[in-house]
């Protein structure tokens, strides 16, 4: 197992290097640091102010000259923008916000709890609902209910999340005025009042695609031969579905679910800014509004780290469940 784990981690190193390169390229080559400085300080900023800004954010060397992109000919060859940012990325230093000069890591720590307040309940309840609904559809497969249920799922997928959020808040705000339509408060029961609407909207907006996906997974299992064997041995329809099939189908479901677990921290981009929840999605939205490239760069890198972490945990779960995988 340890051997397998080490191999998986080593396999991720080149991917991580690729991610670092893409992040670096987006914020240093596509947009040069000087352009970024002009965007933040305004097009009329003096050259002195721009140089000061560049110096404060580590884009200049000791002599006050601009660092080259890749190789520093003449001085130390690796004293360049690329290798400096690689060093920061490799030590998981997320840098500072360009707007407030606050370290991004403290901003992320502050936003994680409000984000999790929304995503965690929505995830748990949503998973339960969509699994039950998809089991129901598989139970009555090829019937009229199944056909129209699937169409309903596709219809749910065809509504953009922005419409769910904007229309949902309007309708719910008119129907249930007791639930506040905006704001957040981390104090016991009042939190529940604030998160009720966003959580419900998040569950409803994700239901369609989830039910359809799980139904497809379960339908694949239903066609397997062990199902026919179980039926031939005389097990009841319900028992075959809930005991034999569910056990095997859950392996694929868990793989999908575990991979998405780390993303719960990232919150939701559209929902949080609309409901005024000070989570990570809101942080990103603010960064977009203020052209805060420091935060956006850090967020992209942080999201990729979470993805790779989720992938690793999925691999471990998979290998633990199925010993054959470890040998491949």
């Amino acid at each position: 197992m340890l051997n397998y784990l080490i191999r998986r981690i080593l396999y991720m190193v080149p991917i991580l290097l690729g991610v670092m390169f893409i992040t670096f390229a987006l914020f240093n080559i596509v947009n040069t640091p000087r352009q970024v400085a002009y965007r933040i300080l305004g097009p009329k900023a003096s050259v002195q102010a721009i140089d000061n800004w560049l110096n404060n954010h580590g884009y200049l060397d000791e002599q006050g000259k601009e660092l080259p992109l890749f190789f520093n000919v003449g001085a130390h060859p690796f004293d360049s923008l690329y290798f400096r940012s690689m060093g920061r990325f490799a030590t998981f230093d997320l840098g500072r916000s360009f707007a407030t000069d606050e370290p991004v890591i403290t901003m992320i720590k502050r936003g994680a709890i409000p984000s999790l307040c929304i995503t965690l309940p929505a995830f748990v309840v949503g998973l339960f609902l969509s699994l039950s609904a998809s089991l129901l559809l598989v139970f009555v497969r090829d019937s009229l209910i199944d056909r129209w249920g699937t169409v309903l799922c596709v219809a749910g997928m065809s509504i953009p999340i922005t419409v769910y959020v904007i229309f949902g808040q309007w309708i719910a705000g008119n129907l249930f005025p007791w639930f506040p339509a905006f704001g957040f408060n981390l104090e016991g029961f009042s939190t529940a009042r604030f998160i009720a609407l966003p959580v419900v909207i998040m569950i409803v907006s994700g239901l369609g695609s989830d039910v359809r996906m799980y139904r497809a997974i379960f339908l694949e299992e239903v066609r397997a031969e062990y199902i026919r064997t179980a039926q031939a041995k005389g097990a009841s329809h319900t028992r075959v579905l809930l005991v034999h099939m569910l056990k095997n189908g859950m392996i694929s479901v868990i793989t999908l679910v575990v991979a998405s677990l780390p993303f719960l921290i990232m919150g939701t981009l559209v929902l949080e800014s609309f409901f005024g929840i000070p989570g990570l999605g809101n942080l990103m939205q603010n960064a977009i509004q203020t052209s805060d490239f420091g935060v956006i760069q850090a967020d992209v890198y942080f999201g990729s780290l979470l993805y790779l972490f989720g992938l690793l945990v999925t691999d471990i779960c998979y290998a633990a469940a199925d010993p054959r995988i470890r040998l491949q």
Partner: protein, 328 residues
């Protein structure tokens, strides 16, 4: 460029695309699938709706004179009002002294007094540009990489796998936002950003299918006859994976239209003034909070978007069933 030339180029491009599709669909397998599709009433209906909406979009792309497209010309009798007016109202909306309107409007008028129904129809053009331009970029790229990886295997496959697993490691929406922030607003830039994330799924799918196809006897036979790799790829493998590409393109189109609304909501999407469904939905944030609420622009825009995306999704499912009746 004179108008007639740009119109001619546009129509020639569309004709070339249709001819290309027909050439690919001229295999035995596709003909059988199309026969099966002909019996699927839902699929045919959805195809008709998609075709009508895309033709409306195309009509808005063809210019009659520098300020008018064919669509504008068809609606030239619709007068412009001074501000909001409710659907089919005779007087302007929410003023102390309601003024009589110049004409009746099926879906009312927006803040600038433009006819909402016409704006919604014009949204088809934006959807067509986003979906079409992005598809033109990512489909050749993704399909080519997938086929190369699946056919040549070994180090070519390693490179292809590395490329798509690296791109997949960056969460899609974060990468989209980052690319749009660095490139700036605009429909053409949005197409570039969207194709950066869209090719991954297609490439993975085509690679897997090519893997299966390349192991089949007909490929071996072609090799034994002395055909070159390129001939085998173009005349043997490509026609056999083309149905996957087409299904993926149709389902991907709906995803692109949905992604446009999210980007427009986050403020990095279509520039202000573009008649796009995403912008119309986004502006409803303000309109719904008015008293009484202005509900018709978001209803009209999300209705049209829902119709297009739902039809695309159902059409994609129908095609999948038609091409692979056993699996569905």
């Amino acid at each position: 460029m004179p108008i007639w030339l740009s119109n001619l180029l546009l129509l020639a491009g569309c004709a070339a695309l249709v001819a290309l599709l027909r050439a690919f669909l001229f295999t035995e397998r596709s003909r059988r699938a199309l026969n099966r599709l002909r019996r699927d009433r839902v699929g045919i209906g959805c195809a008709a709706i998609v075709a009508v909406l895309l033709l409306i979009g195309l009509a808005d792309c063809v210019q009659i004179n520098p300020r008018q497209s064919v669509l504008d010309f068809a609606f030239r009798n619709v007068p412009r009002e001074d501000g909001y007016s409710a659907p089919l109202a005779r007087t302007s909306f929410n003023e102390r002294d309601p003024k009589p309107l110049k004409g009746r409007h099926l879906m009312g008028t927006d803040l600038l007094g433009k006819d909402v129904f016409l704006q919604t129809l014009k949204g088809c053009k934006t959807a067509l540009i986003i979906g079409g331009l992005t598809s033109l970029i990512y489909i050749p790229f993704g399909a080519l990489l997938g086929i190369l990886g699946g056919y040549f295997r070994r180090w070519v496959d390693d490179i292809v796998q590395y490329l798509y697993s690296t791109m997949a490691s960056i969460p899609g929406i974060l990468l989209l936002v980052a690319v749009m922030m660095t490139l700036g607003k605009g429909l053409d830039r949005m197409a570039i950003a969207l194709s950066l994330t869209a090719w991954i799924g297609l490439c993975r799918l085509v690679r897997g299918e090519t893997f299966k196809q390349a192991a089949k006897p007909y490929v071996e036979a072609a090799r034994a006859l002395g055909q070159s790799h390129w001939r085998i790829i173009v005349f043997h493998i490509l026609p056999n994976v083309m149905h996957l590409v087409i299904i993926n393109a149709i389902l991907g189109f709906s995803g692109l239209v949905l992604a446009e609304t999210i980007l427009s909501y986050l403020g990095v999407g279509a520039p202000v003034g573009t008649p796009s469904w995403g912008v119309m939905i986004d502006s409803a944030r303000m309109e719904l909070s008015r008293e009484p609420a202005v509900w018709w622009p978001i209803t009209s825009a999300s209705g049209a978007l829902f119709l297009l995306v739902l039809s695309l999704n159902l059409l994609g499912d129908s095609l999948r069933r038609a091409f692979d009746p056993k699996a569905a």
